[in-house]
Symmetry: C2
Subunit: 658 residues, 2 copies
């Protein structure tokens, strides 16, 4: 569809009207960005974006990411105007009210057509990189017939200042993701005022330096916008289109100022804007000719979708493609055979190594995985199973060298998972979840299946010292809603954790894995015990007076403590608490049986004790580390910080005798 | 001092020898970087860096930051060779062993001469920006006579890929910090292999795009290094010197490969390196002529220090300058008068507003503060007290527009605090502590007095929705060692928290502040009750059966609940738990008195309940929010998520009757 400016302008003004009216009704929100980018978005949606409003999950749709998520009324307007089932005009009337899918920031779990949840700046752009990666990868497998779409981003100045955008564009430039196009809302205004308050950066030169194609346009000139988008599509590199815009365009007295950024315009200014825009309809009413033009915007996409559906029907890959895009695992997928092998030949290995072995089994039988590491491949043990390198010369590869870009990696993984068809996993040290935390939170909030392979999970890291030793990280991640944090104790639990993580279609997992070797404690085949989150791995022999609740490398230590207690006639259970979140989901009686109320509950974890009192109560004992670590060989550190049976058992005896 | 290459080369080789031998003895560490940058560092330390080994705290020394902290043997070698009291050669022999100040990564709290703790990549460079800011600011006050030094950084490819470095260089370029020079170890190797595995960036062009001067040199040609450093010093912009180096230079079979990056070279390769370098001394022995040359390197600094001391002695600013550099507050500093004013005229205001009012009192009487915000000035209420803007035209200003760079802001604040003479504070939304978390951890680890003004501290944020509403953040920050997390309940507590935070010379504080208005609960003058961390703000009238432990905006709610209970003859205390860390430091009897063992303890906080069981036990009640929030007006959200007396009191009655 290619409309003349005379018809495009009223369409763009419909976005402006809805945006200013919705923000006014809510008396909160951000009118400036939707009004400023209305013209660009209109050209994009009427002439370039491939979408079918009737089929928002169509696998081969272009992905549109509003990275400047505060401008949410832009996407709500577009989805409504082009004829998506939601949001309805009532949803828009209820913008920012409880229950409306038109939330303050766009949320993928509230509305089809919102590809990802944005608002935390820079991350939309960084997720788009992952979407573009997934697209190119699936294209190599399924060909242009099934996978051949673009990823479009609207980003603001805030997005382009955040560190994560730098990591993301570095990755996109390196990987040559030519089908990714970023439309920068170059309005030279941030919340605090003019951008020159805080930046002097030549953004175009910076993008060019990272391998991007850069062009620009007058963001209020339809022909110029069209020219720039054509140029962006034609260039084989990822493209930045600097769209010179006026924030709040159409509000005659406030436009071009930060006053339009994050507050309602007010009745007087809205009246003036209606005058300026020639918009005479009542609030939330779209004239029928404009509505009809907007409905037409989806026509090319509807047609393309129909043709695509025919190609899918005829494809030999249909079943597999549909399975992958639905996020299902292959029928009967299981690691049972792998685990049987581990049981048959017990090994004393680090759980990071056990993870590598598990990946050696997983990757060949599960084509969906795309692994990687933020430049710690040999430490995270994330490369296994004969997967090739994913790069611009080989998008079929399934291993990504993300570089020293933890946040960018995590955000890209979110984007891949949201795109669908792939299951991303990636590694760094557990302590550097701090660098990626903004994206881990968006994994949890967006319900994405992303698997974080976080190795070197305690002072067991040793000599690298406190900057590299996680202490508070397990607690801080367990506090996050909808995130599974798993800390397996041996090779068998590690394999079970991988299987559980892969089967979580709607939540992310952090695997916390050791650097140091651990004995194999699980020596019998059977059901996945880790699936219950926590389970009794060793039962008391003498009358039970103590229950150890330990995780990961400290389960071995709990065994040693239990042995000493049993030698004195004091019975002790050991519970391996692989994943507190899964344990908390078990029935009350299961949990009460493990955490026997007549026993002294002792938590043992080489990490902050914060949070363990919910299992031990205030009368139990918490063996942990509430200070930063130190630099020394791991064994010396465990001794120094009190993680030996010799130092723990007397504390237990004191407590029992008190 | 300007030595000829024939004398510089053995000096550089002394660094190489110490580095490879120390790593070999530890059987862990990173020899590649110190060996690769030995020549550059030798030129820097012998001809450019202003330092006095006998006075590592000399205020006007140049600051040297080893941002690529894994190459810690470089700085240990330099400090030892130039004659600092520590590390001794035995300290170096014990590299990476328990108790040695030569930790795996350089730690400012272990060794004088280590200006900041590095290892988490990119942050050294970002902290250096803060150091350079503090230097320029103090220069405007005290003049060249007292403050006139440079900030030098050695950074690796990892540092230059991390997002935080992008934020940092954007800030430094914008602020025109010409006395900051970054020496980039351009060795084209990362842990995973060649840099072209993960990046195609033209780093020099990127730096130039952000307003930096860029030059390059052969990092193994002394004359060329000298030329580049001269050029860097002469240019008024901050400078990037791309030092083309060979990683592990001197190890003939492994140099130039990632094999030298993070592992001992091994006996055979060390023997070969000795041959190559012509190094015949035993391990850890430095020939006396080389040692003498190295000792001479500090001579110009010693002389400069002497002259400077004379100027200080003669300066009218001596006392104030020394006070500020020592980190002391002015004699008798207190907010008592401000608090008396609050008591006299109670207000219902948001605690972010109360913070602004407090800053209006603090900033005029405490010249040390440098405030700022990551582009949320009007929301964080951080600009108060008539402080001007800090920018390239006015380094005397005390307010920094950090832009949308939370991580860069936090790291810069660390650098300012480490530099000394200033007390930095800065704001963003509490939820975006996630973006800055890597730096907040380094605040805590490094014992820096940095004050994080984190507003919009719960679902009380309202319409912006779950991406902007903190849930797990209070818990996750409380789990971090050596960090004070304060959540004041009204204007008086807010002022008390500010005073406490300013008086913490050796730890950082997070102030969690509301968007929404809160009534003033504290109506009587007296001692700082917040200083105890938690205190009884309301005592039961009827016989006490319940103790509410609440924070911030939920103290008001606890009052409402208590009132309903009292109406039924059930006595209820309310404890305002302003800061759990400070509360935990109180004597046992104080804590036991507040958390009465015969009462039902009820925690009330509009955030994750994770961790509250340490006060409530498993038999208490935890009122909180263990899911993500939603987008709606704040009042609707508090009701929706159960934060009303109507919804809480029945739960308490059930519990009491159970």
């Amino acid at each position: 569809m290619s409309l003349d400016p005379a018809r495009l302008q009223p369409m763009a003004n419909a976005i402006r009207a809805l945006s200013m009216d919705a923000v006014e009704a809510a008396n909160s929100g951000h009118p400036g960005m939707p009004m400023g980018m209305a013209d660009v978005a209109t050209v994009l949606f009427t002439g370039h974006l491939k979408f079918d409003p009737a089929a928002p999950h169509w696998a081969d749709r272009d992905r549109f990411v509003l990275s400047a998520g505060h401008g949410s009324m832009l996407i709500y307007s577009l989805l409504h105007l082009t004829g998506y089932a939601a949001p309805t005009i009532d949803d828009i009337r209820n913008f920012r009210k409880l229950g409306s899918p038109c939330a303050g920031h766009p949320e993928n779990f509230m509305l089809d057509g919102v590809e990802c949840t944005t608002g935390p700046l820079g991350q939309g752009l960084a997720m788009a990189v992952g979407m573009a990666m997934a697209e190119r990868h699936l294209n190599t497998i399924y060909g242009d017939d099934l996978v051949d779409h673009r990823t479009w981003v609207i980003a603001g100045d805030g997005c382009l200042m955040e560190g994560v955008n730098h990591e993301a564009i570095g990755l996109a430039g390196h990987l040559g993701l030519g089908r990714m196009n970023v439309l920068w809302d170059d309005n030279r205004i941030t919340i605090d005022g003019a951008t020159d308050l805080s930046t002097s950066e030549d953004i175009k030169a910076r993008y060019a330096a990272t391998g991007w194609h850069v062009t620009e346009c007058d963001g209020h000139d339809f022909a110029d916008i069209e020219r720039a988008l054509q140029e962006a599509k034609a260039d084989p590199r990822p493209s930045l289109v600097a769209c010179r815009t006026i924030i709040g365009k159409g509000a005659p007295n406030k436009q071009g100022t930060s006053a339009t950024h994050g507050a309602a315009l007010g009745a007087a200014e809205i009246a003036a804007a209606r005058e300026t825009l020639g918009w005479t309809s009542e609030p939330f009413v779209i004239p029928s000719d404009i509505a009809a033009d907007w409905h037409m915007a989806g026509e090319p996409g509807r047609a393309a979708h129909g043709a695509w559906a025919g190609r899918l029907e005829a494809s030999e890959h249909k079943a597999e493609f549909e399975r992958r895009m639905a996020g299902d695992l292959p029928e009967g997928f299981s690691l049972d055979a792998h685990i049987d092998g581990l049981i048959a030949a017990p090994q004393k290995i680090a759980t990071r190594k056990a993870s590598e072995i598990a990946l050696g089994a997983i990757n060949p039988m599960l084509a969906d995985t795309i692994g990687g590491s933020a430049d710690l491949t040999g430490s995270n043990n994330t490369l296994a199973g004969g997967i090739g390198t994913f790069n611009r010369d080989n998008y079929a590869g399934r291993y990504v060298y993300y570089g020293i870009r933890e946040f960018g990696m995590a955000a890209a993984m979110n984007g891949m998972a949201l795109h669908g068809g792939v299951i991303p996993y990636g590694g760094t040290f557990l302590v550097f979840t701090d660098y990626a935390r903004g994206a881990i939170r968006l994994s949890a909030l967006q319900h994405t299946r992303v698997i974080y392979v976080m190795t070197h999970d305690s002072i067991g890291l040793g000599e690298d010292g406190p900057t590299h030793q996680p202490v508070e990280h397990l607690a801080s991640l367990r506090a996050m809603p909808n995130l599974l944090v798993m800390r397996p104790a041996d090779a068998v639990e590690t394999a079970e954790c991988w299987e559980i993580a892969l089967k979580q279609a709607d939540r992310p997992t952090v695997l916390a894995l050791t650097r140091q070797n651990l004995p194999q404690l699980r020596l019998e085949a059977g059901e996945s015990l880790s699936a219950k989150g926590g389970y009794r791995i060793k039962s008391a022999v003498a009358a039970r007076k103590v229950v150890f609740v330990a995780t990961g490398s400290e389960v071995e230590l709990a065994y040693a403590c239990a042995e000493k207690l049993e030698a004195q006639g004091i019975g002790a259970d050991v519970v391996s608490m692989v994943c507190t979140e899964l344990f908390d989901e078990q029935p009350d009686d299961y949990r009460a049986d493990l955490l026997a109320s007549d026993a002294l509950i002792v938590s043992v974890e080489a990490a902050s004790t914060f949070g363990w009192q919910r299992y031990t109560g205030t009368t139990g004992l918490n063996i942990g580390l509430d200070t930063f670590g130190a630099s020394a060989p791991a064994g010396d550190l465990f001794d120094h910080f009190g993680f030996t049976a010799e130092k723990i058992v007397p504390q237990i005896l004191n407590k029992l005798n008190a």
